[in-house]
Amino acid sequence: MSVFAPSTDTWSQPFYEGLAQGELRYCVCAACSRALPYGARVCRYCDSAGIAWRPAAGAGRLCAWVTYRRGFAPEFPPPYRVAMVELQEGVRLLLPWQGGAEDPLRQGAPVRVTVESGRASAHLA
């Protein structure tokens, strides 16, 4: 089965639907509007159980990255990178990295997140 087979998890559906529409989304508390980590089912600040999805600006900074030197799936021939990005909205998002596997990277570097053909990826801004 392709690694891109759609998730059947209802909580994450709005995230994937956003990508299909070319939009990167993040979560906020429906009551207090503060950004919530991906995966939170309740607000960590006000205990409200309602969450809402909002479009993210697509800007952030690089927290961490890894370089796969060994392949695990045909869709990802090595070498390739995966990045952890903190969106400017204040939450962390895992993203495929667009750029050479040997390019020097720096923690904290500004990055852009783009969505194309339903796939999100990050690259240096």
Partner: protein
Amino acid sequence: MASSQAKAALTGFGLGQLSRNFTGSARQLAVEAILAAVKDAGLRRDEIDGLLINRSPLAPPEALPLHLQEDLQLANLRMMSGIEAEGSSAAQTVQYAAMAVMTGMARHVVCVFADDPIRPATTAGQAFAEPVPISGIEGWEKQCGLFGATGAYAMAAQEYLAHYGLDDTAFAPVALGQRAWAERNPRAFLRAPLTREAYLAAPWIVEPFRLPDCAYPVNGAVAVVVSAAARAQDGPAPPVYLHGWGQGHGGFQGFHGRGEALTGAGRAGRMAYAMAGVTPADISACQIYDAFSFVVLLALEEYGICKPGEAAAFVAAGETAPGGRLPCNTGGGQLSGFYLQGMTPIAEAMLQLRGESGDNQLQNPGLMLVTGNGGRLEYHAALLMSREARL
């Protein structure tokens, strides 16, 4: 050191054959390990009244079912459960067993872990390729190409290196030190000497992890018997006393969090130290859950033994290797000894405290910190163990 009376004791220890080949199912290996542990404790099967089962989170429930009770014909169980908290489960089984014998709910509880990831058609690499969820979005790791626990831990490891201004050679002393222990341990699977040059030349798996930064999976089983501290002298085996324990479970949001704890390990450690009336300075040896070399550095810091960012220099100075001031993972750990998840550090602690560590035997193992770590740094459990009934 404040005075601490042991809360419970580990009175039996048994193995199901450890192998890189498929010699029998996890269930069969568990039976083997349990029978060995019960015999080692000088008990009869009908004296076992508690059974706590820990299976690999990657194995299906039927791989290690509650039917172990029937397999072993244990007719007198007063407590039984499967404990599932990933790599922290094994230490947790010992904790729950200790609480059961302290309250009289049970007298002799067997805790077992068994796994058989290596099959005729499955390599160790394939067995552990499944993504570890760290994104919060179901299925997203796969879509990002983040396969295996290796990738998830490598992400945290790279952030650690960058945060403290270290480079990718920072993990080498962990791998080299543990190999030095393994060289002298006939039970260890990777015993060939590992030089710094060979480490640096080893293939990357997921950068910043090279092959020797990753645990060495095996098939096998470990079982221990937990009994009341007062009964510890009854059996033939040298008793190992349990003085404190703790757990801590929190997410991992990286090193630029909101001033919150990095992981739950700090909480697990503080609880254990308080229970035993000790401080990190009283710890004389550690058996740390080390699925990846990086985890040892982070654990030394999270458990209060090193200051944040200083564990790499501590290990590089040889403090955790043979001859060091704080021997760690004295059988080679999961990196060079064998990877049976949370039971690896417990097994190494048992052997040291019973004086069965051969050429690696410490003169005085003192107070030993034993840790478990599950998920991607989310789930933590710790034990404090000693030869002494009273600290």
